[in-house]
């Protein structure tokens, strides 16, 4: 199991590369990853800062549950989920997910499923700070409304 909440800045590529080193050579053929990063704009305005609040203990429990469910559903060799909380600046990584499997479909689908589940259900809340003051984000952008599905 490797999933955790970080109150400090995270380095996603380093986290992924560190996990990669732990994989037995030749077992995985596919690695899929997703990184969510803070933008300097929202639907409303330019952003200066964000505070990511969470429900301590429930987030840890929820991430662990997500990892477990993904590992049950797909034949993953490994899986990592790391989520930031606290003060976040534009350009800062917020979440990183990595999935390792023998074949690509499992890694890609598990990674996709994990970020959607996390976005829709993990108990985190964003408070954005811009020139017009602070406000809580009411809801995430729908994962399936943007971009054309092939």
């Amino acid at each position: 199991m490797s999933n955790w909440i970080s109150e400090q800045a995270i380095k996603p590529w380093q986290i992924l590369a560190d996990c990669e080193v732990l994989q037995p050579t030749g077992q995985h053929g596919a690695t899929s990853s997703f990184i969510g990063t803070m933008r300097d704009f929202s639907e409303r305005e330019n952003l200066e800062k964000m505070v990511l609040e969470h429900y301590p203990q429930m987030t840890e429990r929820y991430l662990a549950k997500l990892e477990k469910l993904a590992r049950c559903r797909w034949p993953l060799q490994d899986c990592v989920i790391v989520h930031r909380v606290g003060d976040i600046l534009p350009g800062d990584p917020i979440v990183v997910i990595g999935c390792w499997s023998a074949h690509r479909r499992a890694a890609i689908d598990a990674c996709d499923w994990l970020i959607e589940e996390l976005k829709h259900n993990a108990p985190f809340w964003k408070k954005e700070f811009g020139p017009e003051g602070a406000h809580w984000v009411e809801q995430n952008t729908d994962g399936h409304s943007l971009g054309n599905k092939p």
Binding site: G36, L52, E53, H54, Y55, Q57, M58, R61, H83, I94, V95, I115, L118, K119, H120, N121, A122, P123, F124, W125, K126, K127, W136, V137, E138, Q139, N140
Partner: protein, 82 residues
């Protein structure tokens, strides 16, 4: 509503915009049969927004999920992580 020493109680928590709206982060109740009642008691009968979520003991629950002494009940707005 105040906690009595040596007696179990229900711990109620509010998060994010809901905490700001309610004006408190947590409160203890002597008892509540379910989250619906916990909400009423903890908020002095404030109207309950349609979209709020509830968790009992760190798992998502319903407003009529039975609650027992020692449980933790949390109310929060739609999540926006990731």
């Amino acid at each position: 509503m105040a906690k009595t020493i040596n007696q179990m109680s229900i711990q109620v928590k509010f998060f994010a915009s809901l905490r700001d709206k309610i004006g408190k982060a947590d409160i203890e109740l002597d008892a509540a049969k379910d989250p619906a009642e916990a909400w009423t008691l903890a908020t002095d009968n404030a109207p309950r927004p349609d979209n709020i979520l509830v968790a009992v003991n760190l798992d998502y629950a319903r407003f009529d999920t039975p609650v027992k002494d020692g449980d933790e009940v949390a109310f929060f707005p739609p999540v926006t992580g990731g």
